[in-house]
């Protein structure tokens, strides 16, 4: 049992026990309130360079299996949880949490008061954190000197195009930090998917004769993504049905002159009631959201609101008034998360198929 420490930029120190890799790590810390789906969360590229705090007291009991990977390696920089199941036995399991993190050189820390930590983070908002062997001045100096990159998309997007073949509609996914769940969903519709890097040009996209475009989710600040993308979106939305997810939603908003801002309290969980405006129905979906659309700036745009989070009124979905283009802030791919949240994929593929048929 090795003691380790989680230290926060604001000077807080939490003592715990090491698991996973023994490395020192830095990242932005956030808490996630989902009770299941730890592997999907750890491997979601949206959490690139972040340290995740699980509020659920125990993770790992269902093991690690590659079908639950959202990327080929864990994306988080560190894992904080009250208890890790030491050995897991799920039949799909290929290894334990500890082995998984060790293999990928990601440190974890357990046996600390994660509820106190969560309540603290709820007040302070996002900040930098580090998992270290000893919480001395040197550790804090290093933490405070750390400059978080704004090149998240560049670092997580695929460097070159690749195909995920199918026999159905021809879908182009623009990768801003794509997670596997989106490809899995498109697979369910037997779509012929081509994934292009974030800096794809209009010609590169249109040369593929897409029936539909998906702007993927991804990490970081949308305003750090090169401006060219907004021009590309403005052109594409006129030509082809378009679906934006997460960061893709934020970029879709910005392309249509709607502003985006950091959230006062981030959403990371799957239990918020989200209202679909048109039917007044409530659904639940996985949220992983640090930025939000500025409500007041929608009115004078060509977009309108389709989904709202009932806990804080934040915008969760937008649609274009004139083109077959829409976007959702939440994750519609159920990896992890509620199944009713997949509706946007149904709607998107309907849109694609109707226009293909016409």
């Amino acid at each position: 049992m090795t003691k380790r420490y989680l230290i926060l930029e604001d000077g807080s120190i939490y003592e715990g026990e090491a698991f996973g890799a023994p490395a020192t790590t830095f990242g932005e810390i956030f808490f996630h309130t989902a009770m299941t789906g730890y592997q999907e969360i750890m491997t979601n590229p949206i959490y690139h360079n972040q340290i995740v705090v699980f509020t659920v007291p125990t993770i790992g009991a269902a093991g690690i299996n590659h079908r639950a990977d959202e990327a080929i390696v864990p994306m988080v920089k560190g894992v904080v949880v009250r208890e890790v199941a030491e050995v897991s036995t799920n039949r799909l399991q290929t290894m334990s949490m500890h082995e998984f993190l060790l293999r990928h050189n990601v440190p974890g820390i357990s046996r600390l008061d994660t509820r106190a930590l969560t309540r603290h983070l709820r007040e302070t908002g996002a900040q930098k954190a580090s998992i270290v062997d000893y919480p001395d001045d040197h550790a804090f100096d290093q933490l405070r000197a750390l400059v978080m990159t704004n090149q998240e998309v560049q670092q997580t997007s695929t460097p070159r195009a690749y195909v995920n073949p199918g026999r159905g509609a021809n879908i182009v996914v623009i990768d801003f930090g794509l997670k596997n769940g989106i490809l899995r969903m498109l697979n369910d519709y037997d779509a012929n998917v081509t994934v292009l890097p974030y800096n794809a040009t209009l010609d590169e996209v249109m040369n593929l004769d897409p029936d539909g475009i998906v702007l993927s989710s991804g990490p970081g600040d949308p305003s750090a993504v090169p401006e060219d993308i907004l021009d590309l979106i403005r052109t594409l939305q006129k030509e082809v049905p378009l679906l934006g997810v997460g960061l893709g939603h934020e970029l879709f908003a910005m392309a249509n002159h709607v502003e985006v801002e950091p959230m006062p309290v981030e959403h990371h969980g799957m239990n918020h009631p989200i209202r679909e405006q048109i039917t007044n129905q409530i659904m639940y979906a996985t949220q992983a959201q640090g930025y939000q659309v500025v409500k007041g700036t929608i009115k004078n745009s060509d977009l309108f609101v389709t989904h709202v989070d009932l806990t804080d009124g934040s915008i969760q979905g937008l649609r274009h008034r004139n083109y077959p283009a829409f976007s959702v802030q939440f994750f519609p791919d159920t990896a992890p998360g509620p199944i009713e949240a997949t509706q946007p994929f149904d709607d998107f593929m309907d849109m694609v198929n109707i226009r293909r048929g016409a």
């Binding site: 999907e40 659920v56 009250r82 039949r91 046996r111 008061d113 799957m270 239990n271 009932l310």
Partner: protein
């Protein structure tokens, strides 16, 4: 919409029904009255707290469909509520619908198809098939060859059932081809049509419950999931249950959640639905085994575990509210009803059995667990690790039960251990620990027991902890770790060979102190309003002293054979009266199904075991003005008094003498003792099956010489027990005892005076003028009926424990009902 609503009560408490449905109907009644409805209740349970309200119209009648129809017709009832009276109410609602048809009142929340499906497994499976949802797989076969075809397709083990059987229905299990060879012909021959059903066996699957809420617009919410540690094959109530779900991956949990939603939609449920699943641990395939469309033990478990306002929400939804706009009490945050609860703690429900009490009474029972419920109560343990939650639940359940002595296990032979691993008994958790101690590997144990290996690693941790504690007396780090994982001061003291006070003092000196965490449904994301707490040993304590004039009530924990439901009734009245008197109340209890957890009764609740250290820890934070202790817990009372606390003891006769051997009725002269003098109440009679009061045969109790009271007697109710059954004012031979809670609840219920509340007013020195009149009045004044009878029944014991002996029901008090005329 309806203006007269009838709640159908659940009748007697018994196996499978504690006071959870009464607690729900109490809360529902408050909500309905607030919305302007008139509320009627039919029930004959003497311990019904809802029935003691004076703002409901109560009909004390036997719960039959005919009686319910009579009440409906006589009072012009517009709607009935079938969801807060257990299976009794579901069954009766179904029958009332059949009798009254279109003329009948509206059934709130439930369609007749869901009533049927909850009672009839075959119908449920047909519905599931129609909706393409996973039902139990079954194949029809009429030759041995076809039986084998079916078995090849479904894979072993399978069950073979004769269709239209001659004689008793057979359900034969076959584990392999050899067994099937023996079974196939036999089952075919048994069938009049020479046909059998071959079912895929789900024995050994994981048993999972999902509880969902649905509104009329088809918005669905998952309140939570519960995982049984024990596999299918052990009744779910007898299983150790854990929430949140521990051993299923997200896609499986989501599939179960979505299936539960589809079923709620299919049956058009407005309100709560519990769907029970069996999940194959090999491949995560699952089937739906049962649906439970009413508030039952799992619902109250989840309500306690999550802090989700389940009863207010289900009440609103059944009346046609939308989930996002449902009326809930203002003490909850605005978004709470529509937020899916997420937990940052682990809750373990631990069943409590009857075998110990029966054995002490010389009644032999088979302790083996199977698909018929054997437990009568349960406790919750709450913690931040499974180890901690399990330790606390176990401690709460068995702090004084001899059949849970770990020493027993050491004496078993190896073959007895294996036998019990395969055919578990009530104390299997100790057996599992013993097996680990004897060196069985986790994989072996998981295979023998069909319990997920996850739990064995956790049990092994507990074993290791105990070993560490034992080997390192007074070691700070070891003690810290032991407390972190929920080991009690008492256990540590035992392992160190010292007194628990010394361990406690050592902890204090070393600053190893409990911290209290809030139960709330957002896992810390939001600032929720909270009133429920549990202890753990971490950094941050969230519980502050409630106020400077509080009453702390120590609950009675799990129901056992005896006065569980009655004690619950008495304490609920006590708490309510203290609140009426302007005190804030703090509850300490651990039975989630107990009436005392009704939110209206207390300002703050602690879900904790009830050992002295647990109570002292909370008392230190709350510093209550008074602390109410049911029963004469001498050590506890001494500790509390030495801490300067003002203790009110509710006298409790826990172990009743048997009435089985008595040839005649016993006469009971009942008194209220106000602290200075005895006041006669009424004379009642007790025989083995009943307690009765005949107000026409009362004598002038003033003429009877008052028995002597000991100098240290506390305010409360007492009875003079007399074996000579002839009523007389002569000096009698007999003995004085505290009035048993069952009888106190009964007297309180049938009298026109609220005796329990009067007692509380005397305790705090504030009797009203009316109280004085009642207490000094001639007994007859307070008994507004000719006869009142409270009866006990044996049937439950026969059904659940296969006991054929005549039982001493006064002592065991199961299946209690009452009537008045």
């Amino acid at each position: 919409m309806a203006d007269k609503i009838l709640l159908i009560g659940g009748s007697a408490n018994g196996f499978g029904r504690e006071t959870e449905s009464d607690a729900a109907s109490y809360q529902m009644t408050s909500a309905l009255l607030k919305r302007g409805y008139e509320v009627y209740l039919v029930d004959d349970n003497p311990f019904s707290f809802t029935a003691s309200r004076n703002d409901v119209h109560l009909e004390v009648l036997e719960l039959t469909a005919e009686n319910i129809v009579k009440v409906i017709v006589a009072n012009g009832i517009n709607a009935i509520v079938p969801t807060v009276g257990g299976t009794t109410a579901i069954q009766l609602t179904y029958e009332v619908e059949e009798i009254m048809g279109e003329q009948g009142p509206a059934v709130l929340g439930l369609s007749s198809s869901v009533l049927q499906a909850s009672q009839n497994t075959k119908y449920l499976q047909e519905c599931l098939k129609q909706w393409h949802l996973p039902s139990v797989q079954t194949r029809l076969a009429s030759t041995p060859g076809e039986v084998f075809d079916a078995a090849r397709e479904l894979e072993f083990p399978v069950f073979v059932r004769s269709i239209a059987p001659q004689g008793q229905a057979l359900r034969l299990q076959a584990e392999d081809a050899e067994e099937l060879d023996q079974v196939a012909e036999l089952a075919l021959d048994r069938s009049l049509t020479h046909q059998v059903n071959v079912d895929k066996s789900i024995h050994g699957y994981k048993e999972i419950s999902m509880i969902v809420m649905r509104d009329f617009r088809n918005t669905n919410l998952l309140v939570g999931g519960i995982e049984d540690m024990d596999p299918v094959g052990i009744h779910s109530a007898d299983s150790i249950a854990v929430t949140p779900i521990q051993t299923l991956a997200d896609p499986v949990v989501q599939a179960l959640r979505d299936t539960a939603f589809q079923i709620a939609r299919g049956f058009n449920v407005y309100g709560l639905l519990e769907v029970r699943f069996a999940v194959n641990p090999e491949d995560d395939e699952f089937v739906v085994t049962r649906i439970i469309p009413y508030y039952d033990r799992k619902a109250s478990l989840l309500e306690g575990a999550t802090g989700y306002p389940m009863v207010p929400v289900m009440t609103g939804l059944m009346l046609g509210d939308r989930l996002d706009r449902v009326h809930i009490p203002s003490s909850y945050a605005e978004h709470t009803a529509a937020l899916e609860p997420t937990m940052d703690h682990i809750v373990v429900r631990f069943p409590v059995f009857t075998f110990g009490e029966l054995a002490s009474a010389g009644i032999p029972t088979n302790r083996r667990l199977d698909t018929i419920q054997k437990s009568v109560g349960a406790t919750l343990g709450v913690g931040r690790s499974l180890e901690e939650a399990l330790e606390k639940a176990l401690r709460a359940a068995h702090f004084s039960n001899r059949s849970f002595s770990p020493d027993l296990m050491g004496k078993l032979t190896d073959s007895e251990v294996i036998e019990q691993l395969i055919h578990p008994q009530d104390n299997r958790i100790l057996l599992l620990l013993e097996a680990i101690r004897r060196g069985y590997t986790v994989d072996e144990l998981a295979e023998l027991t069909h319990i997920d290996a996850f739990y064995f690693y956790k049990l092994a941790n507990i074993m290791q902890l105990e070993l560490d504690v034992k080997e390192h007396p007074w070691d700070y780090e070891v003690l810290k770790s032991a407390k972190y994982y929920g080991l009690s001061d008492g256990l540590i003291a035992k392992l160190w060979g010292t007194a628990y006070e010394s361990v406690r003092r050592y902890r204090w000196d070393n600053n190893i102190l409990p911290t209290y965490k809030a139960f709330e449904p957002s896992a810390g994301e939001f600032q929720e309003s909270v009133s429920q707490f549990y202890s753990t040993f971490e950094d941050e304590n969230e519980s502050k002293r409630l106020g400077d004039d509080t009453v702390m009530i120590v609950g009675t924990g799990a129901f056992r054979l005896g006065d569980g439901a009655a004690a619950s009734y008495v304490l609920a009245n006590v708490m309510d009266e203290f609140r009426n008197l302007g005190y804030q109340t703090v509850l300490l209890n651990n039975n989630p199904h107990d009436l005392t957890f009704i939110p209206q009764l207390s300002d703050k609740q602690y879900f904790e075991p009830l050992e002295i250290s647990d109570i002292m820890n909370v008392a230190e934070i709350e510093q209550p003005t008074r602390i109410v202790v049911p029963g004469n817990r001498i050590k506890l009372i001494k500790s509390l008094k030495s801490a300067g606390l003002n203790v009110d003891v509710l006298v409790r006769e826990k172990y009743l003498e048997t009435t089985l051997t008595a040839e005649k009725d016993q006469l009971l002269y009942n008194y209220f003792y106000d602290g200075a003098q005895l006041h006669p109440m009424v004379v009642s009679r007790q025989s083995n099956r009943k307690v009765s009061i005949d107000s026409t045969e009362q004598i002038d109790l003033e003429q009877v010489q008052l028995p002597e009271m000991p100098a240290d007697a506390t305010i409360g109710f007492y009875q003079f027990v007399c074996d000579e059954a002839d009523l007389s004012t002569d000096v009698l031979q007999g003995r004085m005892r505290p009035m048993p809670f069952m009888q106190l609840a009964f007297l309180d219920k049938v009298s026109s005076a609220d005796w329990i509340r009067i007692m509380i007013r005397y305790m705090v020195g504030q009797p009203t003028d009316a109280d004085e009149v009642v207490v000094h009045a001639t007994p007859i004044l307070n008994w507004p009926f000719n006869h009142a009878v409270m009866r006990y029944q044996d049937t439950e014991f026969k059904e659940h424990l296969n006991i054929v002996d005549r039982l001493d029901n006064g002592q065991f008090a199961m299946g209690t009902t009452y009537e008045v005329d």
